[in-house]
Amino acid sequence: MYKEIIKPALILFLICIVLTAALAYVNHITKPIIEENQRLEEQETLIRVFAEADRFSKEIEADQLRENGFVVPDGVQKLYEAEKDGNLTGYVVVVSTKGYGGDMNILVGIDINQSITGVVITSHNETPGLGDKVTNPDFTDQFKGEIPKKVFSVVQRQASDDNEIEAVASATKSSRAVTDGVADAVAMVRSVIGGD
């Protein structure tokens, strides 16, 4: 009885306790560093889509925006206010959109003159080597500049109009997803600024 059942159980229990303690110790050391990394990374990515700003507000969640009476498109997750020398100069919108392989998170920077200052994809599950090319600046830089009058449309040839976005070859669905996300961000900022 003891040798067959209790002893093995006790030994396994002991092994688990020792290993869990080791894990807790490593977690204790690494957790603050990981959190700090994530915070720095957030500030750095915000700067990447809005280089002009020197400070970003705390995040404003989509629900909070809705409560304040703004029209919030489905994809919008949160919004940051970008400031320069203490004055509001624009917004960074975090949108989530359905890509080919799953959800994509996109940061879109838009200044108060309704120009897009940058688009960066922060996480995605697109096919490596194909769909993930939408994260390249070659693709995302197409959105930069004044927001066109017409809605963005994805084309599978050279873009000829300022509202046309050239899709990444063999990744039309991923390209569309990014474009939808940017359109959501534009709608959000328009609602915040007022008018269109």
Binding site: E4, L12, I15, A22, T127, G129, L130, S170
Partner: protein, 229 residues
């Protein structure tokens, strides 16, 4: 002197005679899934080697204490602990690589190679030999998947370690970074490696007999073998 020689042959065994990827065909899932780039192969190999060394060492220490009945849960716990540690360390030291490898880091827990070494080697040998075995196997795995990653990256993306290398030579074929291309490159490399390794004709591997003693059902990767996402 004799002992030193044995240690060396244990180490080299994992790189050539029993190379986990090219000779034993173990751990196919990460070998195919993360090898779209040479850098990912190297990172995955290093992470797996760390887990392998840690688990082989601990398992060889506790091998006489753990009753046979609970040895599998005990080993899995040890392996899972090291995998979690490696993931935390990667998040601190190399966050970029951690993002690239994503789900394949936690999946090291069920990596066939690591469990196979625990069962076949660490369970029967002392800590020093077990560490050497883990280093050899880890090096063999790392070298193998870095080579696969290099070939696929050069042919598929035209870059190596992120640097463009084939700009004026040929235009890369995306096929090679897709799963089908991965299987194809894998097949060719296994054939090439076996051709080269067999030429030496020293087939007296240490555990030639019980190499597959565990058998397919005992292999933790049995159900997921070849399951490449």
């Amino acid at each position: 002197m004799a002992k030193k020689k044995k240690g060396f042959s244990v180490f080299i065994n994992g790189i050539i005679n029993e190379n986990p990827t090219f000779r034993m065909l173990l751990g196919m899932c990460p070998s195919l899934a993360v090898t779209t780039m040479a850098k990912n192969g190297l990172g995955m190999g290093a992470a797996a080697t760390f887990v392998l060394v840690g688990s082989n060492f601990i398992i060889s220490l506790i091998r006489n204490i753990v009753p046979d009945k609970v040895r599998i849960p005990a080993y899995i716990t040890v392996i899972a602990t090291f995998t979690t540690i490696v993931q935390m360390l990667l998040a601190v030291l190399l966050p970029e690589l951690n993002k690239q490898l994503g789900i394949y880091i936690p999946l090291i827990v069920v990596n066939c190679i690591i469990f196979a070494r625990a069962e076949m080697f660490a369970q029967k040998n002392g800590p020093i030999l077990s560490i050497l075995d883990a280093l050899g196997m880890g090096a063999g795995f790392t070298i193998a998947i870095t080579i696969i990653g290099s070939v696929r990256e050069i042919l598929g993306s035209g870059t190596w370690m992120g640097y463009p290398v084939t700009v004026n030579l040929f235009s890369p074929a995306t096929f090679f970074i897709l799963p089908a291309g991965g299987f194809m490159i894998m097949g060719f490399l296994v054939a090439l490696f076996n051709k080269l390794a067999n030429r030496k004709k020293n087939d007296n591997t240490i555990e030639h007999q019980d190499a597959c003693a565990v058998g397919c059902p005992g292999c933790s990767n049995a159900a997921g073998g070849g399951d490449v996402k």
